[in-house]
Amino acid sequence: MATTSVMGGAVKRREDPALIKGYGSFVDDMTPTRVAHVAFLRSPIARAKITKLDTSAAKETEGVVAVYTHDDVSHLGPLLAQVPIGKLRPLLADGEVNHVGEAIAMVVAENRYAAQDAVDAIDVDYDVMTPVIDLKKAKSDEIKVHDELESNVLHTWTYHGYWDALGLEDQTAEVDAAMERDDAVVVSLEMTNQRLIPVAIEPRSVIADWNPGYGSFTIHSSTQVPHALGGAVSKMFGLKSTDVRVIAPEVGGGFGCKLNVYNDEILVAFASQALGRPVKWTETRREAAGATIHGRGWIGTATLVGTKDGEFLGYKLEAIADMGAYTQNFTVAIPLLGLWIASGQYKMPVSWTVDCVVTNTMTTDAYRGAGRPEAIYYLERVIDAYAREIGMDPLDVRVKNFWQPDEFPATMGCGFALDSGDYEGAVEKLKAEAGYEDLLQKREEARAEGRHVGIGIGSYVEVCGFGPAVLAEIGFSWANYGLPASFNGSGIVRVNPDATVTVVIGTGPTGQGHQTTWAQIVGDGLGIPVEDIKVLHGDTREHPMGIGTFGSRSLSVDGAATFEATKKVREKAARIAAHILEASADDIVFEDGGAHVAGSPDKRAEWAQIAKAAYQAHTSPEDLDSGLEAHTTFSPGNATWPFGTHLALVEVDSDTGDVKILDYYAVDDCGNVVSPMIVNGQVHGGIAQGIGQALFEDAVYDEAGNMLTGSLLDYPLPTAADLPSLHLSHTVTPTDVNPMGVKGIGEAGTIGSAHTIVNAVVDALSPLGVKHIDMPLRPKRVWAAIQEASN
């Protein structure tokens, strides 16, 4: 593979050499001098008053430095949240606990083993109360989770009413009227989109180091949002931003679970300040299951109304989404992301209502896809059921209702406009790649042999690239963490005197290869080899204003900003080159590691000359400031709307309910592609997480609120042995929302895959009369559905 900087080329990742040799530096790999270690006492009870909390024995345990409870930290207030609808999380339990895993006390000790020993020595009594776990019960307000809130229902999202300023029309009457039509076919499915635990393989970890001399913090955290954490610490501790440096070094996967400012991060900072020494905490896997955010957790009924020949007349969703006990970063805002794509790739009226309810469980927030996999799941499952009902091919029924290429930008009932799309193009490519007609034939042959083989189709459109300033008005910013109130992208590009390049970006990657992709963008723009380009991210000292990495936003927002900054640097370099070559800047062309005058390849200035000249006044143009760098922010006018269609071929053992994925095809369109290698990698991983939800994963609380799936023993993740190789291909429909024409690909695979698998399994079992099975499609559920259908 060539190591070139060409856009669209596969450049070997700059991140990899350290990681494959074991020299990557994750937070838990660091051990500062005099570091003390934290362990938390966490609630084993879902809901209780704490009637006794005695830490005296713990304080006497060998190696213990300090033990803190709520009173020690109450002056800091509760944990900040960006969308603070609901009850904010107390840093440590304030006389009551509201979910299993809630932090009650913090032990600081000389080593981790001693810290855990001291946790065991804390004496605590609980007056156990009846928890609220079931979502319908929560909505009924029969028992309220928090006395101080008016209702367990924190907010209700509706399709037309989510943003008053838009003055949107309520389409419910239109959808209801369609159901009354004589030719209407109405199909409803009640479905669960189950709660999931994100399980980044790197547990969260934080080291806070308060320097009493300078009065400043250095905090290393495995976070996707270092600037948000820095802002929160500044605000909560009353410090200037220059006195809080947050570094996110290598971060071992995030998927949204590290897109939160956590109470443990604040508490570790508190302890470091109180003790005047570095303090470190790394979660255990069980803590990750009880105290790191969860995702999904919806129940609801989706209804599609259409004609007998496949024309969609309207779609309705009535759902309840589980927020957990306390509101953290975006919590209540997550379903809104689903609302924007409620109608999928289809042109039809929508009535959409999601009630956000509190329960005595861990907080939910953004997990890969965040609201969008849920929304697409409900829509695409019921479309599948409708296609089956009217006896139409599931691809044909979709194509019949797609927005057409000439209709873009296509304004939907939610007020947003889909930027660009050729939805049928992706379907045509999928049919060709998968050999759709042959697969149909193969399915019929298998069925004739008595085998249960099914083909599942799943389309999706998603919304990503969260950067539009207008979104700040409804909470999409870090304003509550004291940062500027929009999700602008930004990039700093600096050519150094030796013609190397330093690029500083405000993202917080967790494996997406930004050091490589950004080197390609800048290298392509400047004609400098990627080997000479160093990309820095995740350090609040290097960059004044970073947003972080989430919502598939980095490339289309920060990448676009860097693309623009690169242009500015090139323009300035052209003026310097023109000065050296005594030519006009307009005539300067950059090629092969230098600049030359158009038409005169011999009149050439190497980058080394240009860079050096930029830093010495006597060799650069008189009217030019010295230095060669640019910092550009970018505020897109719209989000981006990637799309695609997936196909799964599965076989079910009807005797056991065991599902086997025989083959998987995906066609995704994320606009222009910088690195096809990295894009494919994102889709692979996304699909695996969608398959994980479809077949394996389930975060289960029992009626008493006990977490039954707190270890990987009971929360099975897909392994290599459980997944097939994936056939990926792409169509390219650029967007005009940003200058690179790129959309986003981090979540597409997840948003496109869970319903594809379920559709396939239902297809396999439809000859037996099965219409729906709730995820995860563990053998027991598949088998039970077969029994139910045959009885």
Binding site: M1, A2, G8, G9, K12, R13, E15, D16, A18, L19, I20, K21, G22, Y23, G24, S25, F26, D28, D29, T31, Y113, V199, A200, I201, E202, P203, E250, V251, G252, G253, F255, T282, T284, R285, R286, T510, G511, G513, P676, M677, I678, N680, G681, H684, G685, G686, I687, A688, Q689, L712, L713, L717, T719, A720, A721, L723, S725, L726, L728, H730
Partner: protein
């Protein structure tokens, strides 16, 4: 014990896990901890040539053993073929599971340098990866197998690859 060819001796508490001994006493932090139950495999190392999970072993159990960690896999500055395969075929994203995954794959190829896809998938079944969906990990191991056999590795399967 011997770690990456070097003799090391230390007195540790009986309860010290081998992974903590490697990471904290020897500062070999390439071996990672991802779970508590021995399920994720991020802590995989070789003990006497066999891949094992160092989080489910006491340091004391390794007394006298020969241990190889990810830091000891490359020889004379040359990447192990599996390391090379991971780099060439985008077998890693966040890189956290990668050291353990590479150690398992290296052990697999040491036993069988021409494994089928199914054998590769079962050979790394004890290592969880949340980023890659394993697709490119399998490709990386196929690449490494070809290298070990002295054959030309199969071409990458992303669009535009040459």
């Amino acid at each position: 014990m011997t770690v990456n060819g070097q003799e090391v001796t230390a007195d540790v508490e009986p309860r010290t896990l081998l992974v903590h001994f490697l990471r904290e006493n020897l500062r070999l932090t390439g071996t990672h901890v991802g779970c508590e139950t021995g399920y994720c495999g991020a802590c995989t190392i070789h003990v006497d040539g066999q891949p094992v999970k160092s989080c489910t072993m006491l340091a004391a159990q390794a007394d006298g053993a020969s241990v190889t960690t990810i830091e000891g896999l490359a020889q004379n500055g040359e990447l192990h073929p599996v390391q090379e395969g991971f780099w060439e075929r985008h077998g890693l994203q966040c890189g956290f599971c990668t050291p353990g995954m590479i150690m398992s794959a290296a052990a697999l190829l040491a036993e069988n340098d021409n494994p089928s896809e199914d054998q590769i998938r079962h050979g790394i079944e004890g290592n969880l990866c949340r980023c890659t969906g394993y697709h490119n990990i399998v490709r990386a191991v196929e690449y490494a197998g070809a290298k070990v056999r002295g054959e030309e590795p199969p071409a990458p399967d992303w669009e535009g690859a040459s």
